[in-house]
C-alpha cells in the first residue's frame, strides 16, 4: 500500500503559505499606488477642467500603470511589472462592468420613476395616443397580459422541466448526454426563432389568429432549459443516502421521489421556477411575433390579441415622441421591478435551502 501524505488544509498550518503574507512595505506602497493616480486625475478634471473620459484615458491609466509597475518592481524586482499590470487590468475591467451596470440601473430608475404613478400602473392604454401626456393611461393591461402569458407558459413548462430533470438525475436512461446537449442548445436558441416557429405552426397555418396562448407557447423553448437545468442541480444536491434509504425501506421509486427527494429539493425547485420566469418575463421578439399588442385589458388568454409589458415597450420606443419614450422608461422600470422581485425571491429560496442543509 502506497503511503498517502495528508494534504488537507486542516493538517497544513496557516504558516505554510508564505506567499500570502503581506509585508507593511507592500501594504503602504500599494495604498499609495492606488490613491495617488486617482488624486492626480481628479485634480486634472476638477482644477484644469479636463473632459472626464479623456482624463481617464490620457492621465489616469498611464499614471496608474506606471505607479503599479513601480510598486511591482520594488516588491518583486523586474518580473513584478507584469504582476502589477494584471492587478490593474483586472480591477479596471471589473469596475468598467460595474459602471455599465450602474448606468443601466440608474437611467432606468431615474427616468422610470418620473413616469410611474398609480394611474400608469393601473390604467390601460385604450384611447391613448403616443403623444398623450402621462396623466392618462398606462401599463395595467400589459402587466395583466404579461402575467397571464408567462403564467400559462409556467404551468406548462414547470412539470415538463421537472420531469426532464427527473430523467437526468433519477433514472438510468441511456440518452442523458444527448438530452443535456439538446437542452444546452435550446438555451442558446435565439428568441426570435422561437417566435417564428410558433407563428409558422399556428398563425401562418391559420389555426388561430394572434392570441395570448401562442405567446405562451413561444416562451416554452426559452424557459425550459433554465427550469430543467436548475432543477437538475437541486435534485443532484439531495444526498444519495436519503434516496437509497427510502428505496431500501421498500418504497417504489416514484414514492421515494415524491416523498423524500422532492421535499428535500423543494426550495431549489422554487429557485428554478423563479429564474425561469425571470428569464422570459422580458422576452420581446417572440411576443411581438405571436401575441401582437392590444390597448385594452384582455383577460382571456385563449382568444384575442393581448398586450404585454415587452410589446408595450417595443411599441412605445418605436413611436419616438417624447411622451412615448417617457412611457417606455416607465414600462422598463416596471419590468425591472418584476425581474428584481423574482430574482430576490430566488435568492431567498436558495438561501433557506443552504441554511436548512447545515
Amino acid at each position: 500500500m502506497e503511503k498517502v501524505i495528508d494534504l488537507t488544509p486542516v493538517a497544513r498550518p496557516k504558516t505554510a503559505q508564505p506567499w500570502s503574507k503581506k509585508s507593511p512595505k507592500f501594504l503602504i506602497s500599494a495604498a499609495a499606488a492606488s490613491i495617488i493616480p486617482a488624486a492626480i486625475t481628479l485634480a486634472f478634471v476638477g482644477l484644469a477642467g479636463m473632459d472626464f473620459m479623456a482624463a481617464l484615458i490620457i492621465v489616469f491609466l498611464p499614471i496608474q500603470v506606471i505607479a503599479a509597475a513601480l510598486v511591482g518592481i520594488s516588491i518583486y524586482g523586474r518580473r513584478g511589472i507584469l504582476e502589477s499590470l494584471l492587478v490593474v487590468a483586472t480591477i479596471f475591467f471589473s469596475s468598467f462592468v460595474f459602471v455599465l451596470l450602474g448606468s443601466v440601473l440608474w437611467s432606468v430608475i431615474s427616468n422610470g420613476a418620473a413616469a410611474i404613478s398609480p394611474s400608469f400602473i393601473f390604467q390601460n392604454n385604450y384611447y391613448i395616443q403616443p403623444t398623450t401626456d402621462l396623466g392618462y393611461g398606462g401599463v395595467g393591461h400589459a402587466i395583466v397580459g404579461s402575467l397571464l402569458i408567462v403564467g400559462l407558459s409556467t404551468i406548462i413548462t414547470v412539470p415538463l422541466g421537472l420531469a426532464t430533470a427527473v430523467y437526468l438525475t433519477e433514472t438510468q436512461g441511456k440518452s442523458k448526454g444527448i438530452i443535456r446537449t439538446l437542452l444546452q442548445a435550446m438555451a442558446g436558441l435565439p428568441s426570435v426563432v422561437s417566435g417564428l416557429f410558433i407563428y409558422a405552426m399556428f398563425i401562418a397555418s391559420g389555426i388561430t389568429t394572434y392570441a395570448g396562448w401562442t405567446g405562451s407557447l413561444a416562451l416554452i423553448p426559452l424557459m425550459l432549459p433554465t427550469v430543467a437545468r436548475v432543477t437538475e442541480e437541486s435534485l443532484r444536491l439531495v444526498p444519495a443516502e436519503l434516496r437509497n434509504g427510502a428505496l431500501a425501506l421498500g418504497a417504489p421509486a416514484w414514492r421515494a421521489f415524491a416523498q423524500v427527494t422532492l421535499p428535500a429539493a423543494k426550495s431549489g425547485i422554487m429557485t428554478a421556477v423563479l429564474l425561469g420566469v425571470a428569464r422570459v418575463i422580458g422576452e420581446t421578439a417572440p411576443l411581438v411575433l405571436t401575441t401582437f399588442a392590444a390597448d385594452r385589458t384582455n383577460l382571456n388568454v385563449f382568444s384575442g390579441q393581448m398586450g404585454s409589458l415587452p410589446t408595450y415597450l417595443f411599441g412605445y420606443i418605436a413611436f419616438g415622441f417624447d411622451a412615448s419614450i417617457k412611457r417606455a422608461w416607465g414600462a422598463a422600470l416596471v419590468i425591472l421591478i418584476i425581474v428584481a422581485i423574482l430574482f430576490i425571491s430566488a435568492r431567498l429560496a436558495s438561501r433557506t435551502r443552504t441554511k436548512a442543509r447545515k
Binding site: V104, T171, A185, P221, A278, T284, L336
Partner: protein, 323 residues
C-alpha cells in the same frame, strides 16, 4: 474469453423498475426528456416547411450569401448576405470586448476579492444577466449611444488612418461598434459565470504549488490558471457568441440596418443583424417576404445550433468531474 469463463462476473447492481407505478413514473420522465428533442425537431420542420417557397425561388446559396433584399422588385429578391455578415461582425466585436471584461471579473471574484466582496460581485453579475434585452436596448438607444458615439469619435480621430476605423461621413451613431458594445454588455455575465465556475472548480493545490515555487500572480495566471481553464473559457465564449448572434431587440435600437454590405468599417452607421432584420421587417411583410424571413430564421437557428452544440460539448469536456 474461454479461459476466463470460470471467473464470476461482478453483478451489476442497477435494477430495472418492476412495479407498474414505477414504470409509469420513469415513462413520464422519459417522455418529458424527449420533449426537448421533439421541440427542436418541430422548430426545424416548421421553419423548413415555411421557408421552402422562398428558398426554392431564391436558391439556398443565393439566399444565404447574396446581397439584395427587395420585396418591390419583380421578381422579388431576398438575399441575406449583409445581415449574416453583420450579425457575425457585431458578435465578433461583442466577444472581443466581452472576453477581457468577463475573465477579469471571474479572476477578481475567484482569486483577488475577499469572500464577502466576491459574493456581492457574483450577485451583481447575475443581476446583469437578468436584465431583459429590451431594457438594455432602451438604455442603449437613449443613454449609451451618445456616449459610445463620443468614444467612436475619439477612435476615429486618433486611429482613423487604420481602415477599420475610417468614417468619412462623421456620423457615429447606430454603428456596428455601438451594437457590439451593447451586445458585449449582454454576454459578459454569460462568459463570466462559466469562467468563474471553471476557476472555482480548479485544484487549488496546483495554484499554491505554482506560488510556492516562486511564481507570482501573473505567471500563475498565465501559465497555470489559463491553460487549465482554457477549455471552459472557450466554451463560455462560444455560448456568448451564440447569444450575441441571436440578439434581437437590443441591437434593433442601436443599429442602422442596411443591405449595403459593411465588411469591416465598424464605425460607420450601417450594419446588419439577421434577428433584428426579421423583427423589423415582419410587420409589413407580404406572404412571400414572410417566407423569406422564415428562411432567415432557419439560417440563424442552424448557425446558433451548431455553435451552441460545439460550445456545450467543450464545456462538458472541460468539466470531466461532472457526469
Amino acid at each position: 474469453m474461454n479461459a476466463d469463463s470460470t471467473k464470476v462476473e461482478r453483478r451489476k447492481l442497477a435494477s430495472k423498475p418492476f412495479a407498474k407505478s414505477d414504470r409509469i413514473f420513469f415513462g413520464v420522465a422519459r417522455v418529458a426528456a424527449y420533449s426537448s428533442f421533439v421541440i427542436i425537431a418541430l422548430i426545424l420542420i416548421y421553419l423548413v416547411g415555411r421557408s421552402l417557397p422562398a428558398l426554392q425561388k431564391q436558391g439556398l446559396i443565393n439566399f444565404t450569401f447574396g446581397s439584395t433584399w427587395n420585396s418591390a422588385a419583380t421578381p422579388e429578391t431576398f438575399q441575406l448576405g449583409p445581415m449574416l455578415w453583420g450579425s457575425i461582425l457585431i458578435s465578433i466585436i461583442g466577444v472581443v470586448i466581452a472576453v477581457p471584461l468577463a475573465i477579469s471579473i471571474a479572476y477578481f471574484i475567484e482569486f483577488m476579492a475577499p469572500k464577502a466582496i466576491a459574493k456581492a460581485v457574483t450577485t451583481i453579475v447575475d443581476l446583469l444577466a437578468a436584465i431583459p434585452s429590451i431594457v438594455l436596448g432602451l438604455w442603449g438607444a437613449f443613454v449609451f449611444s451618445p456616449i459610445a458615439a463620443g468614444w467612436a469619435k475619439m477612435l476615429n480621430h486618433s486611429l482613423g488612418w487604420i481602415p477599420i476605423f475610417s468614417n468619412p461621413e462623421q456620423n457615429f451613431l447606430r454603428s456596428p461598434f455601438i451594437a457590439g458594445i451593447v451586445v458585449a454588455v449582454m454576454i459578459v455575465p454569460i462568459i463570466a459565470s462559466i469562467t468563474r465556475e471553471i476557476f472555482s472548480q480548479m485544484d487549488r493545490d496546483i495554484i499554491n504549488a505554482s506560488l510556492a515555487l516562486g511564481g507570482n500572480r501573473e505567471s500563475t495566471f498565465r501559465k497555470v490558471i489559463l491553460p487549465t481553464a482554457s477549455g471552459g473559457v472557450i466554451g463560455g465564449v462560444l455560448l456568448g457568441l451564440g447569444r450575441a448572434l441571436g440578439e434581437t431587440v437590443a441591437v434593433l435600437y442601436v443599429l442602422n440596418i442596411s443591405f449595403n454590405i459593411n465588411w469591416t468599417d465598424i464605425l460607420q452607421a450601417r450594419g446588419g443583424s439577421v434577428a433584428s432584420m426579421i423583427i423589423s421587417k415582419f410587420g409589413e411583410a407580404n406572404p412571400s417576404e414572410v417566407s423569406a424571413l422564415m428562411a432567415a430564421g432557419l439560417v440563424l437557428f442552424v448557425f446558433t445550433l451548431i455553435i451552441n452544440s460545439i460550445a456545450s460539448y467543450i464545456v462538458a469536456k472541460a468539466q470531466p468531474w461532472r457526469k
